[in-house]
């Protein structure tokens, strides 16, 4: 995850309690590392959690991920995603507006796509690995398709409710339409100069 975020030119700080992991990540990925327990306020503060736009809790322990995510909520982080395998913990997280991702579910999603040749998922994986991203943009009535600088992004489809429409110059967008685009990986968030 740190690797993908680095390629999106996001400022990444990794918190891990293992000295070896911290040293390896600092050396290989050129990310900031803070060695410590992610449920310890001092550790989170050392990682400057108050300035974080996104908090990802990805340890192998559901309770650590839940607690540290709830703490991140208190520190005012906007977007929080926790890796949770257990349904009870998942419910606690969701009740606190924390997005939940399961390692086993993600793997089975990709496995299912492989078994049934879901080319949309296969392409997404390929795109992710090759420095492109799929994003979507919400559109308002009357606006045309978004225009991008050449070679920067490309609209692939428009989802209106449960219907899929193909992008074309004639297409007039409506409230709530989602325009999916493939775009060259760019800086994901604006990080203020320190």
């Amino acid at each position: 995850m740190a690797k993908i975020l680095k390629s999106q030119r996001v400022h990444v700080t990794v918190v891990d309690k293992s000295k070896d992991v911290c040293e390896r990540l600092a050396k290989r990925l050129d990310v900031d590392v803070v060695r410590g327990d992610a449920t310890d306020p001092l550790t989170l503060e050392e990682a400057r959690i108050e300035e974080a736009k996104v908090f990802l809790a990805l340890t192998g322990d559901d309770s650590v991920n839940t607690i540290s995510s709830l703490m991140a909520r208190r520190y005012g982080v906007e977007k929080i995603i926790a890796r949770i395998e257990d349904l009870n913990y998942a419910n606690v997280c969701r009740a606190n507006n924390i997005e939940v991702v399961s390692f086993a579910e993600s793997a089975s999603l990709v496995l299912e796509a492989l078994i049934y040749h879901n080319r949309l998922v296969e392409l997404t994986s390929l795109i992710e690995e090759e420095g492109l991203d799929i994003e979507y943009v919400d559109y308002r009535k009357g606006s045309g398709l978004p225009r991008f600088k050449r070679n920067e992004a490309y609209p692939i489809m428009v989802v209106r409710g449960s219907e899929v429409l193909l992008p074309s110059p004639e297409l007039s967008l409506e409230d709530g339409d989602k325009v999916f685009v493939i775009r060259r990986r760019r800086k994901l968030f604006h990080v203020p100069e320190l």
Partner: protein
């Protein structure tokens, strides 16, 4: 379909396959895990070591469509794949879970072509989530038949703009180019892009909502 390894990944996949009405058999060596799987999923569970050919045979490996080796240990999964091939799972596909990237090379050398890395899968799902896209939504659109993906190999050189109408004739109506694959690498299909012979143009095809 046979799943070797009834842990988190195996169980989550079994659920998806059962929902699709597939005939699923799970192999696990832990009796407690086996009992829980039988109770929770109501599937056939074979208790035993999936690297053992007899165990694989009793799970029906010689007539399965897909064998998935999904234990938490890469070396065990490779052994399961080799044992399955040795006892006649020749027509079926074999998909192996590998957590350590270095093992992928080993798999390819041993002729195991389909490999999945759960950490990488999760990273892709999370990366999409950070940007507000749900991979499950994209997956569902495909499964439910709203969209299909088709591709055409190009045998001449020229700008995408000039070749597009000919390519569209080949894939039929309701298509829109979304990507060009050049030696497996994706390129954005902007109209000025110059295509080379061997390039594959990938189209998204709209279907009527079922």
């Amino acid at each position: 379909m046979i799943i070797a390894g009834g842990g988190g990944v195996g169980k989550a996949l079994a659920r998806r396959l059962i929902d699709r009405g597939e005939d699923v058999v799970i192999i696990d060596k832990d009796p407690a895990v086996c009992a829980r799987l039988r109770e929770e999923l109501g599937v056939k569970v074979v208790e035993g070591d999936a690297t053992n050919m007899e165990v694989l045979k009793s799970a029906g490996v010689d007539r399965c469509d897909v064998l998935l080796a999904l234990t938490g240990q890469g070396n065990v999964n490779v052994m399961v794949a080799l044992a399955a091939t040795a006892c006649g799972c020749r027509s079926g596909r074999i998909i192996v879970r590998i957590d350590d990237e270095r093992y992928v090379e080993v798999c390819h050398m041993l002729g195991i072509k389909e490999v999945v890395n759960p950490s990488k899968s999760a990273a892709i799902v999370i990366s999409e989530m950070v940007r507000g896209v749900k991979l499950t939504t994209l997956a569902e659109m495909y499964y439910r038949g709203y969209v299909d993906v088709e591709s055409v190999k190009v045998d001449v050189e020229g700008h995408l703009n000039d070749l597009l109408s000919k390519l569209l004739d080949k894939v039929g109506g309701g298509c829109h180019p979304i990507l060009v694959l050049r030696q497996g690498k994706p390129l954005l299909p902007n109209h000025g892009l110059k295509l080379r012979p061997g390039d594959e143009v990938v189209f998204i095809k709209r279907r009527e909502a079922p």
